[in-house]
């Protein structure tokens, strides 16, 4: 069974600062996909970033980047220049082909002025 662990239930960061959300996972598979989704108070689920396990290069989307450590089974999300609109619940998720997306329990991020 694949499990996804987010060890930080809540985090806080000041506007313009950088914050890192941690995620670890457990699997015996070699090929898989990792995602970060955000869920703002509006409840909508929004894709932040996607990483393919066979790619060593860390994915980047504007202010969002990941630190993917395959051997350590770690997939942290770094948010640079935090903005008030980044306040949301952030979910790390894991997928193996043929199986559904498996989510962590989420980290609630609050960006303060």
């Amino acid at each position: 069974a694949q499990t996804v662990t987010q060890s930080q239930p809540e985090m806080s960061v000041q506007e313009a600062e950088t914050v890192t959300l941690s995620c670890t996972y457990d699997t015996s598979e070699n090929n898989y996909y990792l995602f970060w989704y955000k869920q703002p108070p509006s409840r909508q689920m929004i894709l932040v970033i996607r990483q393919e396990a066979y790619k060593q290069q860390n994915a980047t989307e504007n202010r969002f980047s990941v630190n993917f450590q395959k051997a350590a089974k770690s997939f942290s999300l770094k948010i640079s220049d935090s903005q008030l609109g980044d306040t949301a619940m952030y979910f790390c998720a894991f997928e193996v082909s043929g199986y559904a997306l498996n989510f962590g329990k989420g980290t609630s991020l609050l960006v303060t002025p």
Binding site: Y33, Q44, M45, L47, S97, G98, K105
Partner: protein, 113 residues
């Protein structure tokens, strides 16, 4: 031009009733899903359909019955509602299973009284 739309947005009903949630996607995706988000924000897969065929059926009570009349629609019917069914239910779609990001609907908040 909503990509994944689900109705209703809110549903309040009494224990023992039967209710349905509808989901439609206009993205041309082959795969659709139902996820349940509990009061602690944990997202768990319930069902997955690929081209109208059931692919994943997690340990969900058989009071929950998904129906996919065509690959653009995946409805969820719930019989004999219980208090524990109160949650937010998300419909999602993806081009295929295995690495493609999910596109989520805005969720249906079901409250059973």
């Amino acid at each position: 031009d909503t990509a994944v739309s689900q109705t209703p947005k809110y549903l309040v009903t009494q224990m023992g009733n039967d209710k349905s949630i509808k989901c439609e996607q206009n993205l041309g995706h082959d795969t659709m899903y139902w996820y349940k988000q509990d009061s602690k924000k944990f997202l768990k897969i319930m069902f997955s359909y690929n081209n109208k065929e059931l692919i994943i059926n997690e340990t969900v009570p058989n009071r929950f019955s998904p129906k996919s009349p065509d690959k653009a629609h995946l409805n969820l019917h719930i019989n004999s509602l219980e208090l524990g069914d109160s949650a937010v239910y998300f419909c999602a779609s993806s081009p295929f299973m295995g690495g493609s990001p999910l596109h989520f609907g805005n969720g249906t908040r079901l409250t059973v009284t």
